[in-house]
Subunit: 68 residues, 2 copies
DNA sequence: CAGTTATGTATAATACACTTTACATTTTTA
DNA sequence: TAAAAATGTAAAGTGTATTATACATAACTG
């Protein structure tokens, strides 16, 4: 699952550290999410969505699996 | 965080087992989600939302925290 | 009432989200 | 160009989402 965190963060011109503290996680967590190391929890996804003023679905891109 | 899984499932008149296999988790997971034992992962939340034809935000209710 | 289907509880095991710390590299800016 | 700020990597530890199995109870159906 891809996400638009890095893209949205750059638009807002804030650092990973600023985003991290805004959504109350560590910078490590933001780095790992941006670089696709793992997926956010639902709660964190929601916090990030609220922060950017978007819905979860606008930020986290679930490319339709299950077509096979 | 509350969710409307049980409510939506009853509307559709399907069993926990049917929902579980539809979204590819065990019945245990559905039971635990419905009874508030823990929160779904983002991927599972999405699968459930797709199954019910709703958005994640329509099913998982994040009552605004962080007001204090 | 007897049998089946649906729901719930308990517990141990596994996988993964997230933290912490420390260091390395890139980018910005003075 | 040198200092500072931003980004990335690595590895070990904690908490929690999910599985698996087994059993108990409730609800429906014949």
């Amino acid at each position: 699952m891809r996400n638009r965190i890095k893209e949205l963060r750059k638009e807002k011109r804030i650092s990973q550290e600023e985003l991290a503290s805004a959504v109350k996680v560590t910078r490590q967590t933001i780095i790992s999410l941006e670089n696709g190391k793992y997926n956010a929890s639902l709660i964190l996804a929601h916090a990030i969505a609220v922060y950017f003023g978007k819905t979860i679905e606008e930020i986290f891109l679930f490319e339709e699996e299950g077509s096979c």
